[in-house]
């Protein structure tokens, strides 16, 4: 029987994977993916907990997260494209003119 | 005249703001007239001052931030009265001494000076800790500008150092003030920064100790006490004459005044407890800086270090805990203001003529500029505390008063009359005596009318208050006695009660 803890563990693992992705990836696109993974990990947790409590608000949160993630992707990709045009690269080591 | 204190504070501010409009070439005349009016106002204040009243007079009270207990609260007593008058006087004379041909951007200078005057007068008149702090901090700004804009080669370093050092110390002081307010709040249930209310506050000895230290940080740097004095030589070394004059004459007094106004009455026990500490620092200040002064090559630095040395004597007087020493130290604040101000003016005079302040460049000035040498000599004698000059009265009283607290300390501090004369006479000998060594100096002009106008009043005061200090000492004495009575009443520990000699006890003994 798959219980809440399994879901939560899955969520935790996914979150960690996303987190590691954020930390390790140097490509901006991959970075965006990693954040999406993190958000989705949380979604699983919300859905599971909502189900556990029999409460709708968890799932509501999950829906909103999905919506926000979608708009994030929209904005993010937009920025990414402009950036690519300017720099010709998506490597984070290149996009580092401001420092100090 | 109900609002004379507010007028005294804000008239220079208003005049300063309006001064932006005044034409460049008339700026000096404008400055003189404003400063003269301010000086006359301060004299009027003296005239209408009730010399028999020891408490605060001409008080004004307007709540500003009532929820936090901050109010515009000013008043004057015998302790602050004369410092205010001196501030106004030194500003006036300083402006008179300004050389229009040498000072670029005279208008900015005048405006800054007028702002500075506001802050100086404000510091000495405020009775609300936050308003005091406000003026205290604000005074840094015009001074920063004056040093930084018209100073010597490393003026920016000196100006910034002056600002930051003082600023850092006063922020610690601010924490102390906030703590006192909080303690008062605990005790009385209301927030107030009113100093007169604070005087009622009864603090434990431990608290007094820490609060004393917090305030000490602010005041000691301003005084400046050893080892926090190093900003001063830089500031003086770089500042233009007017800047040094005001700095030495008035700004330094803010520190000692702070001790008198805050530390003593608020923390009588801690003050008594701290006497050895203060004494140690002061004695080092007196001897060490006097010796450093002796080593200087630059005339102005000698005067700068001598300032520190003399401030040490003032500090000792503040902690003498008897009317003689405390009154003497307040008088010494005035006399130090007049004398060191005048000495800086004099150095400025020769610097304007020759473009140098290095003593070895001079020699034999006495034969070229006899009047200059005479005025310098008089100020020098006042500086070394010759009787019948203004310098003696304060120094004598301070040492006399402090003898009761610590004979050994007094002897050590009293060496000031020896080493003080060593560096001063050496300075005078190197610059004024001997043959004329530098041919360039042979055609120097003696003091001109402008310089004499600025200096002769000071000479007159030096002699007048040296011979007849009573009109000034009287009100000071009255207020100081009240302060001591309050302190003794407030003191908790028997040692403090023992040390503080208020008049009451002296009478009882008799």
């Amino acid at each position: 029987m798959i219980g809440i803890s399994h879901y939560l563990i899955l969520s935790g693992i996914l979150f960690s994977i996303g987190f590691m992705g954020v930390l390790r990836r140097k490509n901006l696109l991959m970075l965006f993916f990693a954040t999406e993974v993190m958000l989705n990990a949380v979604n699983i947790a919300f859905a599971a907990i909502g189900n556990y409590y029999g409460d709708l608000s968890g799932q509501m949160f999950a829906f909103f997260v999905i919506a926000v993630a979608a708009s994030e992707v929209a904005v993010g990709l937009g920025l990414l494209i402009v950036l690519y045009k300017k720099y010709g690269s998506l490597d984070l080591d290149v996009i580092a003119t401001m420092k100090g | 005249m109900e609002h004379i204190l507010s007028i005294l504070i804000f008239f220079p501010l208003l005049a300063g703001i309006l001064g932006f409009v005044v034409d460049k070439n008339s700026a000096k005349a404008y400055g003189i007239s404003v400063a003269a009016v301010e000086f006359l106002l301060s004299l009027w204040l003296w005239a209408s001052f009730d010399t028999t009243n020891a408490g605060m007079q001409f008080g004004e009270f307007i709540p500003l931030i009532s929820q936090f207990g901050i109010s515009y609260n000013v008043g004057v007593d015998g302790i602050s009265l004369f410092i205010v008058i001196m501030s106004a006087l030194m500003t006036l004379l300083g402006i008179i001494l300004l050389d229009e041909s040498k000072i670029a951007n005279m208008k900015n200078m005048i405006v800054s000076l007028l702002f500075l005057e506001m802050t100086m007068v404000g510091v000495f008149l405020s009775l609300d800790a936050i308003i005091f702090y406000l003026f205290w901090e604000l005074s840094l700004v015009p001074m920063l500008y004056i040093i930084g804009a018209w100073g010597g080669p490393t003026r920016v370093y000196a100006a910034v150092k002056f600002f930051l050092y003082t600023f850092a110390g006063s922020l610690v002081m601010l924490v102390g003030l906030l703590t006192i307010a909080y303690l008062y709040h605990l005790e009385a249930g209301v927030w107030t920064f009113n100093l007169l209310d604070w005087y009622q506050l009864d603090l434990s000895v431990g608290l007094q100790f820490w609060l004393f230290l917090a305030l000490f940080a602010g005041f000691a740097i301003k005084v400046p006490m050893f080892p926090f004095h190093t900003w001063l030589p830089h500031a003086h070394g770089q500042a233009p004459t007017i800047g040094s004059v005001i700095l030495a004459a008035v700004l330094l007094k803010m520190g000692t005044y702070g001790f008198v106004r805050f530390s003593l009455p608020l923390f009588p026990d801690a003050s008594v407890q701290m006497i050895p500490f203060i004494l140690t620092l002061s004695v080092i200040m007196v001897i060490y800086t006097a010796m450093v002064a002796f080593a200087q090559k630059d005339m102005k630095q000698v005067i700068a270090y001598s300032s520190v040395s003399h401030m040490g004597i003032i500090m000792i007087g503040v902690f003498a805990m008897n009317a003689e020493g405390l009154g003497g130290s307040i008088f010494l604040m005035l006399s130090h203001g007049i004398v060191s101000g005048a000495l800086f003016m004099l150095v400025g005079v020769i610097y304007e003529r020759t473009g140098t302040k290095i003593m070895s460049e001079f020699g034999g000035l006495a034969s070229i500029m006899p009047v200059y040498a005479t005025v310098f000599g008089i100020m020098l004698m006042a500086s070394v505390g010759l009787p019948l000059t203004i310098g003696f009265v304060g120094e004598f009283l301070v040492l006399l008063g402090f003898y009761e607290v610590s004979p050994l300390g007094t002897v050590l501090a009293g060496t000031t009359i020896i080493i003080g004369s060593i560096y001063m006479l050496t300075l005078f000998k190197r610059s004024f005596f001997g043959p004329v060594t530098n041919e360039k100096n042979r055609n120097l002009k003696d003091l001109n009318a402008r310089e004499l106008t600025a200096l002769l009043p000071l000479v007159a005061i030096v002699v007048w208050l040296g011979v007849y200090p009573k009109p000034v000492l009287g009100p000071i004495d009255t207020s100081v006695k009240k302060l001591l009575v309050d302190m003794e009443y407030k003191a908790r520990t028997p040692e403090a009660k023992e040390t503080i000699i208020s008049l009451q006890r002296a009478k009882e003994e008799k």
């Binding site: - | 009761e404 009359i417 009573k470």
Partner: protein, 636 residues
């Protein structure tokens, strides 16, 4: 009487202002030369009138106004004219008058003629305050005032440049002036401490109050007060070890030396001890008093010994002054205050005369001071020779001149007290005194005319100057005759001092002994220095290379010691302190700033612009938070 007091006091002040304010910038003005002596003379007349008044009606005590009044301290400008102060007043104004007139001639060609008179009159004013004040603070005003005037006058020729000590031991007038001022300040600190002690234990600085309460104070306290005040006196009166300034002070114009450094100011210390006689005659401070006497005796001998070999006309007289001050202190220390005062007065007359005579010689010799370059001057300067001879006789204590009476009394006192070592030292010193005085006189006026070799063209002083000096000469002769009158006059305020029967019995041979010493001193001097021709005086290289000669010539190496062990270390330490101030005290402050700044520079590397590392920072932060959370949860 008040008016007279004020006239006596303020006439010199008016003179000083008159010369100082109106003529400061003008060249020599004869009006100054007339008005100033006249004003001093008026002061003298007033003093004399007061003296008669005091003799008749007792002391005059007036209060002019309040000076300082703070707390319980109340110092008025009050003046007390009693027998002691009026004696001083008369002496001071008398000598001053003569010196003022004399200066007209001496400073004839000086471009700062007016300034000189201004200073000189200011000095008289200060001296009057010193002696007339009715309290210690007022005395201190005068005390410092004369110090400043002395500074101004020693350094009067400030334009002279510094030279090495082997050319001129005083280096330069301005140097000597500073030295004098600073040394006096050292003593002044002691004096101040004395005042503080008095104030805190008596509650007043008024003489009458203080002296009334003194006997009730603790012994230790009294001793402290006595020591402190005497330290003050040691400075002004140039007692060992604060004596070196006095010889260097000879850099000042000779009238100054006569007035300030012989007749008046240097006796202020003696005056103080006499003034404070109620203190010093207390049993509790007998030790201090004895020390004063001993020190005085020592200085009398010590100074005289240095005078034996010196070649400098003025320095010899300066040493002799020192020596005579020692005599005065000896008397005062032994309790013979009135004798001390008497010697003070007599000494003032003949020593001033001696100095003024020396001034004449200098004037004639173009300011040359080396005795070995003089000789045989009696031909051209007969008047001066007589004056200096009389003064020297008085100094040597040859009857019936003034010095005989006063000095003899002191020596007798020492005998009377049973302090035979002091007594013998004083007797012996009297012999030395006679020797060096006449060594000087003979080297100057008798013997070969060595000056010709050096191309000098000496000439006698103006007539009127010589006439002006005559009062001093007369007094140097006759002053001693009034010993008894003075005695009666003065014991109204000073404790009487009577010799015991034993001393009375021995008085005749005591006197003869002293006289014998003195006469033999003169005779030796004559033999050695006054001959002409073959026996004429020649410098003896063997003697001059001897240890003793060198020791004396170098003033026992005391100035050398001061330079090496005080002046130089002080300078070095000052420089060190300055270096420390810059490097350590200021350096710490700058260091704090620098450390902050460098930390900023280091820290900004974390801001490397790379998003990936930013994210890592964030991640690290989050992990750290969570880690801390875990730790704190486990701990908690």
């Amino acid at each position: 009487m008040e008016t007279l007091v004020y006239i006596a006091l303020f006439a010199p002040f008016v003179g000083s202002l008159f010369a100082g304010l109106f003529f400061a910038r003008s060249p020599k003005n004869i009006i100054v030369g007339i008005v100033n002596p006249a004003l001093i003379f008026i002061s003298f007349l007033a003093s004399v009138a007061l003296a008669f008044h005091v003799a008749e009606y007792g002391e005059v005590h007036i209060k002019m106004m309040d000076w300082i009044s703070v707390g319980n301290l109340n110092i008025p400008f009050g003046f007390l004219v009693d027998e002691v102060s009026v004696t001083m007043m008369v002496v001071v104004t008398l000598v001053s008058t003569v010196v003022h007139i004399y200066s007209n001639g001496y400073m004839d060609h000086d471009k700062s003629f007016n300034r000189f008179f201004s200073y000189l009159s200011a000095f008289v004013f200060s001296m009057m305050i010193l002696v007339m004040s009715d309290n210690f603070a007022g005395l201190f005003i005068g005390w410092e005032g004369v110090g400043v005037c002395s500074w101004l006058l020693i350094g009067f020729w400030y334009h002279k440049k510094d030279v090495t000590p082997d050319i001129n031991p005083a280096i330069s007038p301005s140097y000597a002036a500073n030295e004098a001022f600073i040394m006096n300040r050292i003593a002044d600190l002691g004096m101040l401490v004395g005042l503080f002690l008095i104030y805190w234990n008596v509650g007043s600085l008024q003489y009458d109050v203080v002296f009334e309460k003194l006997p009730h104070l603790a012994d230790g306290l009294l001793v402290s007060i006595a020591i402190a005040l005497f330290i003050g006196a040691m400075g002004k009166s140039a007692q060992f070890p604060l004596h070196t300034w006095l010889t260097d002070a000879m850099e000042g114009p000779t009238p100054v030396s006569a007035l300030i450094h012989a007749a008046t100011m240097v006796t202020a210390g003696v005056f103080l001890v006499i003034r404070a006689n109620p203190l010093y005659s207390l049993d509790a401070v007998a030790g201090v008093s004895y020390f004063i006497a001993a020190l005085g005796t020592f200085v009398a001998f010590y100074a005289a010994s240095m005078a034996l070999v010196n070649r400098d006309l003025k320095r010899i007289i300066a040493y002799s002054t020192l020596s005579q001050l020692g005599y005065m202190f000896a008397a005062a220390g032994l309790g013979a205050y009135w004798i001390a005062l008497f010697h003070l007065a007599a000494h003032a007359f003949f020593k001033a005369l001696l100095f003024l005579g020396a001034g004449n010689v200098m004037h004639a010799m173009d300011d040359e001071l080396d005795l070995f370059k003089m000789g045989g001057l009696k031909k051209v300067m007969r008047g001066t020779y007589i004056y200096m001879g009389v003064a020297s006789l008085a100094l040597a204590g040859i009857p019936p001149l003034a010095g005989y009476f006063s000095k003899d009394a002191i020596i007798e006192t020492a005998f009377n007290e049973g302090t035979y070592i002091l007594w013998f030292s004083l007797v012996f010193t009297a012999g030395l005194t006679a020797f060096y005085s006449f060594r000087q006189v003979f080297l100057t006026f008798e013997g070969e005319e060595r000056y010709k070799k050096y191309g000098f063209h000496p000439h006698e002083m103006y007539k009127y100057v010589l006439v002006a000096m005559s009062p001093l000469a007369i007094l140097a002769v006759v002053a001693g005759w009034f010993q008894e009158t003075f005695h009666e006059f003065i014991i109204a305020v000073l404790p009487d001092y009577e010799m015991s029967h034993h001393t009375h019995h021995n008085a005749w041979w005591l006197g003869l002994l002293v006289l014998a010493f003195a006469v033999s001193g003169i005779v030796i001097a004559y033999k050695k220095y006054a001959q002409k021709g073959e026996n004429a005086f020649k410098q003896d290289a063997e003697v001059e290379n001897g240890f003793l000669y060198k020791l004396l010539m170098n003033q026992y190496y005391v100035p050398y010691f001061y330079v090496e062990f005080i002046v130089k270390p002080y300078t070095v330490i000052s420089e060190k302190f300055w270096a420390i101030d810059k490097a350590v005290v200021d350096g710490t402050v700058d260091m704090i700033a620098k450390v902050l700044y460098r930390t900023g520079d280091k820290t900004r590397t974390m801001q490397n612009g790379n998003l990936s590392s930013y994210l890592n920072w964030m991640g690290a932060g989050a992990l750290l938070l969570i880690l801390a959370a875990a730790v704190s949860a486990v701990m908690g």
